[in-house]
């Protein structure tokens, strides 16, 4: 293992301390390991929180700030946080208008958020939850854990954050995240594995001429191991299932999000975007908004994911609303 760390069991704590030192104008770190917007709680504003394992930076801590999240609960690397963290985050951001939990659909995340929600409601805080499940690589079925929450989470957090900043109430905020969930689809691929610091070796072995299609964001293997293909072919392999599964049709305006998994340079993400733009043009769709970069990562994994969100005026307006966080900033 070759990593820029001091000790595997100190990575999360030291990174959070580093974030607090780097962005004191945006956030503060509170016990037990939560990232809280500096001026939280804001009276009368719906609190928006999310959480999940560490190793996906900048998600979620990098999205805490004006116009996005009010708090984030980071767990150990690739491990959902504990209910104590979500409970503390919920209390820290409760301005009297209720708190929305944005939960990625993983067995552990859902269970730990459920526990936290029960505890917070027991303390008299109104809590609503939405589970994001946008990964078309996973077969959706009543008999499985269901689709994973991946890139759509970033878009949902930005959009609902913009709405909450503008005064949306809890029911409206929840409905907005559900609207994003209904209109967003994602799929990812990996060129390499990644190494969880505490494990010390790569999660899976993969040859130089192979790739994994349909990966999640935890270094888990995907649905299929294949021989490495060109960027154009890979973009087709990701875009086609998304477009076939989602509510996309000719004439639609879409938000196009090409995300790096952590170890792929931007230049390659733009190669992917180039092909994706051609595919969308062929299908008669327009690129309403775009986001390109490393926003929901899997440590140092090389690879990318594609997320498409069908836009309307409401979603576009909240996407464009001012945001000021460590990782996303515009309009302000």
């Amino acid at each position: 293992m070759k990593k820029l760390i001091n000790a595997p069991d100190k990575v999360v704590d030291e990174a959070l301390a580093g974030m607090a030192a780097a962005h004191p104008d945006l956030i503060r770190i509170e016990s037990p390991n939560i990232v809280v917007r500096k001026d939280a709680p804001r009276k009368g504003k719906v609190g928006i929180i999310s959480g999940g394992g560490s190793g996906h930076e900048p998600m979620h801590g990098g999205f805490v700030g004006l116009g996005m999240l009010d708090a984030a609960a980071p767990g150990a690397v690739f491990t959902s946080p504990v209910p104590d963290q979500m409970l503390a985050a919920t209390k820290a951001v409760n301005g009297g208008a209720g708190v929305l939990h944005i939960v990625k659909n993983y067995t552990g995340d859902v269970m730990n958020f459920d526990l936290a929600s029960e505890l917070a409601q027991g303390e008299g805080i109104e809590v609503a939850s939405v589970v994001i499940a946008d990964d078309v690589a996973v077969k959706d079925s009543l008999y499985t854990a269901g689709r994973r929450g991946v890139g759509g989470t970033v878009l949902a957090e930005k959009i609902v954050g913009g709405a909450a900043e503008g005064g949306a109430d809890l029911a409206t905020a929840k409905a907005l995240v559900e609207k994003v969930q209904d209109n967003v689809r994602s799929m990812g691929m990996a060129l390499t594995s990644c190494t969880v610091p505490a494990a010390g070796k790569p999660t899976f072995e993969i040859a130089d001429d192979e790739m994994e299609i349909g990966i999640g964001i935890h270094g888990e293997p995907g649905r299929q191991r294949m021989k490495l293909a060109s960027a154009d072919e890979i973009t087709e392999m990701l875009a086609t299932p998304i477009l076939d599964d989602g509510p996309f049709s000719k004439g639609d305006s879409v938000l196009v999000f090409v995300n790096g998994m952590g170890g792929t340079p931007l230049i390659e993400l733009y190669v992917v975007f180039n092909k994706l733009a051609a595919i969308l043009k062929d299908r008669g769709m327009t690129i309403g908004r775009s986001l390109v970069g490393n926003y929901i990562t899997s440590l140092e994994m090389a690879g990318c994911s594609i997320t498409l969100l069908k836009l309307d005026d409401e979603l576009t307006r909240h996407w464009d609303a001012p945001v000021r966080t460590a990782a996303l900033r515009w309009g302000i």
């Binding site: 767990g75 269970m111 690589a137 077969k139 293997p221």
Partner: protein, 210 residues
Amino acid sequence: MPITVDQLARFVELFAERLAAEKENLTRLDSAIGDADHGINMDRGFQAVLGKLPEISSDSAGGLFKGVGMTLVSTVGGASGPLYGTFFLRAGGALGDTTDVTAEQLAAALRAGLEGVIQRGKAELDDKTMVDALSPAVDAFDRSLDGSLPNALAAAASAAAAGRDRVTPLVARKGRASYLGERSAGHQDPGATSTTIMIEALRDALQPGA
């Protein structure tokens, strides 16, 4: 002869020791079909339990198990934290203020723990989860209660191991392994493996003279 609270504390210690010893093996199993953290998380949780054992040690069996459960929920995260935490919380609830636990009371506690795990994780038999080891173990323990406690515990441990191995060829339908679809078949389930370690620790800690 009833089971003492000290013996149950010894079970918790023994489970913690074996999780520490099996940490890498559990993580290796989880790398194949999950996200490579099961051994790390279970060990972190049970090291926290060991650290708190003087604090959570209680005069009652229920108090001890509830303390273990709360510690796991607060330290493990992932799916294992809520699931093992719920197992101990529910088992502790069933044991209540008892100080000398009968075999029947232990059976009821294990059954309550199993039901809690099923409720929390919504897993069924053959989903390829810890339930596939825990459920047959609890059934076997119930069936063997007529005989001696050591025999019933031995039957439970054998049933757990058999359940763990029985689902290896299956396709996982719950947890992260379910994302692999057919590719999960043929891999031993990490959760069923740690549950088997737990039942074996219970068997060994409650042996006469252990």
